[in-house]
Symmetry: none
Subunit: 200 residues, 4 copies
DNA sequence: TATGAATGAGATTTCATTCAT
DNA sequence: AATGAATGAAATCTCATTCAT
C-alpha cells in the first residue's frame, strides 16, 4: 500500500473511532461534525471526503460494530466450547452478546434495536467486510457441522436475532418487564422452540 | 368542560395531529417546531405551553399511536371473532397490526421498532390513557376467558410484541430477509411455540 | 405605528445601511452576512427575517440608491434652475448624477452599470417606493411643462439612462477611452441628438 | 510547436472551454474550480498552473468571447455586404451582434454589459489576441474606406458600443422597456445621430 | 508538469427557545 | 393564554488554495 493509501486508511479509521466514541458518550444528536473532526485531529473538510454526513458514518458504524459483536462471540465460542452442539453454540453466542451489551450500555444505546444489521442489511455492505470475517459464513459452518438439520436457516436466524435484539434492549436498558438475567431463561426457551420448529 | 378548557384541548389535539402528520411525512429530524405551529395555526410560543419540546410530543405520539393499533385490533377481534380461542385471538390481533402497518408504512417508520410502547413503557403514561381503553386490560380479560392458563403472561406478551415489532419492521420496510406475507407463517409458528412453553 | 412595527423598521434600515457601507467599502463578494449583522448590531438570524440572502439585500440597495441619485439630482434642479428648458433640465440631472458618481466611486462601483434600476426594473418594486418620491413621476412632470413635445418618452429616457450609466462607468472608473470631463461634451451631443430625433 | 507546448495549449483551451460552458450554464458564482477541473478532466492543482483564479479565467473569457462577437459580425459583413457604406456596415454589425445575443441569452448573461471589452479594455490583453483578428483594426479599415470622415472615431465607437451593450442587455433579457425588435429602430436612429454629429 | 488529498477558515443557514407585548 | 419578533449558538457544508508526491 502506498504512503498516500495508508494515510487515507488512517484518517478513515480515526474518524470512525472518534465518531463511535462520541456517539456512545454523548449520543447521536448531541454529537456534531465539529466535535468529531476536532477530536480526530483532522480538518472539517476532510470529514466530507470520507463520509456523506453524520448519518452515513453512523450507519457504517452500526454495521461494523454489530458485526463485531457476532464475530467476537463466535471467536469466544471456538475458544471455550469448540465441540458443543449447534443449539448450545447458538445460545452461547446469544448470551455472549447479551452480556457484552449489558457491560456496555452505551454501545447498546447506540445500536438501539439494530443488532440485526451485523448479519442482515446488505444495504450497507459497500463497507468492504472482509470475506471470512462475516458472521453469516460462520453460521453456515455451524449448520454444516450440526447433526440436526434445519429448514429456512436464514429466517430462523433472523427471528432469533430480531427477538434477542429487541427484547434484550428493553430488558437491559429499562428492566422492563424484568431485568436481563430474569429474561434469559425465557429467551432460551423461545430459541429452543424456534429451533425445534425448524428442525427437519 | 368549560369553554376555555375545551379550547385548550382543541389546541393540544391540533398540535398532536399536525405533528404526527409531519413526523410521518418528513421524519422527526426534518420536522421543526416552526413547521408544526405554522401548519397547526398557532403561535410558536404556544407550543411550549403544551409540550416541553419535540421529543416530548414525539413520545406522547408513539404511546398513543401504538396503543391505538392494539385497541383497534382488539375491537376488530370483538366484532369479527368474538368467540375464538385465546391463541386464535392473539394471532388475529398480531395479524391485524401487521396489516395496518403494511398499509401505513409512514406510521411504521415513525414507530420504528417501538411498537411495544403501546403496551409497556409506563414511563410516558402521564398521558391520561383512559382506563378501559388500555390493551393491558383487554389482554387480561382475554386470559381470564381462556380455557388454557399461562404462567408469566406479562413476559409472554412482551416476547411476542418485541418479536413481532422488530421482525415486522425489517420485513415490511426492507423485505429483508423476506416479505411480510412470507414471514407470517413463521411468526405464527414462533408465537404458537411461545404460548405452548408458557401454558400450564 | 406600534412599538413593534417601528422597531422592525429600525432593524430593516439598520441592516440596509450597514450592508451598503460594507458593500461599497469591501465589495459584494468580500462582505459576509456575518460582517453585516455584526456591524448592524443584530443577531444573525434576524438578517434572514428581513432578507432572503445577500443578493436580495444587494438588489434592494441598487434600486433604492440609484433611485436616490435621480431624486437628489431632480431636487437640486428645482432649487438651482427651476425654470430652465426640458433639455437643459435633463442635462443638468445627467451631469449632477455623473458628478455624484465621480465623487463617490465606491457607489459607482456598487451600482456598476445598473443605474437604470433607479428608473426602470419594476421587478424590485415590492420595496414600497413612496409614490411621489419616484423619478418617473418627476420626469413626466418635466415633460408636461415642456414646450417641445416628444414621442415615446419612456424609450427616450431609457436610451439616455443606459448610455450615461454604461459610458459613465467606463469613463469614470478607467478613464477609458477618456476621462469623464472630456466625455461630457460628447454625451451632451448624443443626448441632444436623441431628443431631436424624438421631438414632435 | 513542440509536443509539450501543444499539450499545454490543449489543457489551456480545455479549461477555457469548460469554464465557459459552466459559467453560461450555472453562472459565475455557482461554478466552482472543482466543477471546472472535473469536467475538463484535469487535476485541481493544474488549474493554478494556467490561471490565477476564477476571476482571471472569467476576464479572459469575456475578452475573447466579446471580441469574437465583433469578428464574427465583421466577417459576415464582408461576405454579405462587402460594398456598403460605413454607416450601413456599422449597423449591420450592431444588428448581427444583437441577433447573436438574442439567440444566445446565456452568453449575454455572462457578458452582462461588458460587451465593450471586446473592443476596449486593454487591461486584459495579455491574452495574445492575434494582431489581425482585432476588431479595432477592422474598424479603422472601414473608416479608411468610407467617403464620409469622422472626428474622434474612437469615442464615437465607444459611445455606440456602450449604448448597444447596455440597452441591448436590458431589452433582450427583460423586455424592459420593450423587446429588442421594437428597440432596434430607436437604436438605429441614435447611431445615425451619433455618426452625423461626428461627421466632418 | 501534473496530481489530488488535505486543509480550515468561514459562508450560509437553521431553529429551539425566550420574552416583551 | 397567546403571540411572534428576536435571538445567537451551533450545525452543516463549501471551496479556493496548497503541497507532498
Amino acid at each position: 500500500m502506498s504512503k498516500v493509501q495508508s494515510n487515507k486508511q488512517k484518517k478513515n479509521d480515526s474518524l470512525l473511532n472518534t465518531a463511535f466514541d462520541l456517539f456512545t458518550e454523548k449520543g447521536l444528536n448531541k454529537t456534531t461534525i465539529s466535535d468529531i473532526v476536532e477530536k480526530a485531529g483532522v480538518a472539517k473538510g476532510t470529514f466530507y471526503l470520507y463520509f456523506k454526513d453524520k448519518y452515513d458514518i453512523r450507519n457504517k458504524l452500526i454495521s461494523s460494530k454489530s458485526s463485531q459483536l457476532f464475530i467476537d462471540a463466535y471467536n469466544s465460542l471456538l475458544e471455550q466450547k469448540p465441540n458443543c452442539s449447534f443449539e448450545d453454540g447458538l445460545w452461547y453466542i446469544v448470551e455472549h452478546i447479551l452480556d457484552s451489551l449489558t457491560e456496555n450500555k452505551a454501545l447498546l444505546s447506540f445500536l438501539h434495536k439494530d443488532l440485526s444489521w451485523g448479519v442482515f442489511k446488505k444495504a450497507f455492505e459497500d463497507t468492504p467486510v472482509v470475506e471470512d470475517e462475516n458472521f453469516a459464513t460462520f453460521y453456515l459452518k455451524m449448520l454444516n457441522q450440526s447433526d440436526v438439520k434445519y429448514r429456512d436457516p436464514e429466517i430462523m436466524l433472523f427471528l432469533i436475532v430480531e427477538l434477542v435484539g429487541s427484547a434484550g434492549y428493553s430488558s437491559i436498558m429499562f428492566s422492563d418487564p424484568c431485568n436481563i438475567s430474569d429474561l434469559k431463561p425465557y429467551l432460551k426457551d423461545v430459541i429452543h422452540g424456534i429451533l425445534q420448529t425448524h428442525s427437519v
